[in-house]
Amino acid sequence: MSDERAFDEQSVRRVRIGSGANCSSIGSVIDTLFATAVTGASIFAAVVAALKAEPIQVVRPGSNDDPLPPPGTREPESPA
């Protein structure tokens, strides 16, 4: 199956590393911000390799007959 996924790294818009374990505010790893270009590239390469190899499970939250978007709904084409 992995050979069938012709994956372009440019499609990876964001990578959030780690699980964190704080219960009061959302955290983000910042090591990568200061990493060398080589290290940064290796992170994305590892992600792409995982995307090509891991089995897929799709979750389908909500339902198709949800009402019109409420205030605060984001526009498409930009990750939240």
């Binding site: 780690g18 704080n22 009061s24 799709v58 389908r60 009402p67 409420p70």
Partner: protein, 388 residues
């Protein structure tokens, strides 16, 4: 991997490496998938990626600045209630559930709840004070992906934040968890007293076996919402140095040291950094989240109500109705609407797409309004300019 469609593509939780990835539509198609109604229907607000779940309000630590005002006689929701909330998180497509409280390790069924979260495809993590963490209690934490111990600094520094001398107990807990083979991190609350010793604190945590340090801004909620806040919050001159401090920490711990995380409320402080303050795209690419209250982040109180974050007053939405209800709740929508279009000076800030206006909990306490973060260096400079 678990794929959750979004109007712009999909969020993907990887299993072989601890990471969450945003893919555009072409990337999703490369997986052989199609977003269907999510891509072609009207855009709708997404469920949170991460939920902070208060599994008890019981805690005997008595920390001065407890945001929940947890007490020894707090309440502990029945297991069945929490399991229904976990069901709702699974149905909504939540990826991570962070157990908190109160002191979550006082629950005798914490292991059952963590295993239940895993069985539902959720990644469970937990925060503990480390006080009273016996071998039995440690053994109950093995299903968690990570356990964070509250540790604001060695010896007297800890007491300046929490009001009691618990540093040695927290250190012992970090050691015991690491020795038990459990992935352990530390939560470090940054105050004007603890910030100067941050490098020493993280190095100490590393020697005890911690693999990660989560830096947290001190926030005026619960028992911290008093006049004491003004004597504990980071000073403006300290806030402006956060970028260089983070650079030094990551350099010191590169190649096997402690990984460093910042919380959502610290992101506005990066506006003072010459390099990062102008590069929201870089922050976004590496998954930095600013204020995601009612967006990628939600909280569930011990009463089962959904809030924008753990520090905010909850909405009337019941956690059991998270799937479906999250997108249409008016109060949660109000938070999202502001974050999507904050007022000046945030509106014109280059960091806005990531920062989203800074911490509204601080803003509400300090200025009385749901507006720009008054402790952000850029907001302070803007206010100074307008005053002259």
């Amino acid at each position: 991997m678990i794929v959750r469609y979004e109007p712009w593509g999909a969020w993907v939780k990887l299993e072989s490496t601890a990471a969450i990835v945003a893919l555009d539509r072409d990337g999703v198609r490369a997986l052989g998938l199609d977003g269907g109604a999510t891509w072609r229907g009207p855009p709708r607000s997404s469920a949170p990626l991460e939920v902070h779940l208060a599994v008890t309000s019981r805690c005997g630590a008595g920390c001065d600045g407890c945001y929940l005002d947890a007490r020894p006689d707090g309440v502990e929701p029945p297991r069945a209630v929490i399991e229904r909330e976990l069901d709702a998180m699974r149905d909504a497509g939540v990826f991570t559930v962070a157990f908190g409280g109160g002191e979550p390790t006082t629950r005798e069924d914490i292991d059952v709840l963590a295993a239940g979260a895993r069985a539902r495809g959720l990644t469970p993590v937990v925060t503990t004070s480390g006080l009273g963490l016996t071998e039995v209690r440690i053994d109950r934490l093995r299903s968690f992906a990570q356990v964070n111990v509250s540790y604001d600094g060695p010896d007297a520094t800890y007491a300046t934040v929490r009001g009691f001398d618990g540093a040695a107990l927290a250190e012992r807990a970090i050691e015991k968890l690491a020795r038990a083979g459990i992935r352990v991190g530390v939560n470090v609350v940054l105050t004007q007293q603890s910030y100067p010793r941050l490098a020493e604190t993280i190095e100490r945590a590393r020697t005890l076996g911690a693999c990660e340090a989560q830096l947290l801004r001190y926030k005026p909620a619960g028992r911290a919402a008093t006049v004491e806040y003004w004597t504990r919050r980071m000073r403006p001159d300290q806030a402006r140095t956060l970028g260089p401090t983070l650079r030094a920490l990551t350099t010191a711990h590169a190649g096997g040291g402690v990984s460093v995380r910042i919380d959502c409320a610290l992101v506005p402080f990066l506006s003072a950094d010459e390099e990062l303050g102008q590069d929201a795209a870089r922050l976004a690419r590496f998954g930095i989240f600013g204020c995601e209250a009612a967006g990628a982040l939600a909280a569930v109180t011990v009463d089962g109500l959904v809030g924008p974050c753990s520090f905010a007053k909850p909405s009337q939405l019941r956690a059991a109705n998270l799937n479906g209800g999250y997108a249409v709740d008016a109060e949660l929508g109000r938070w999202r609407a502001y974050n999507d279009a904050p007022t000046e000076p945030c509106a014109s800030c280059s960091l806005r797409p990531v920062c989203k206006g800074g911490c509204k909990i601080v803003a509400s306490f300090v200025t009385g309004s749901h507006g720009p973060d008054p402790e952000c260096p850029r907001v302070l400079a803007y206010a100074k300019d307008r005053a002259t």
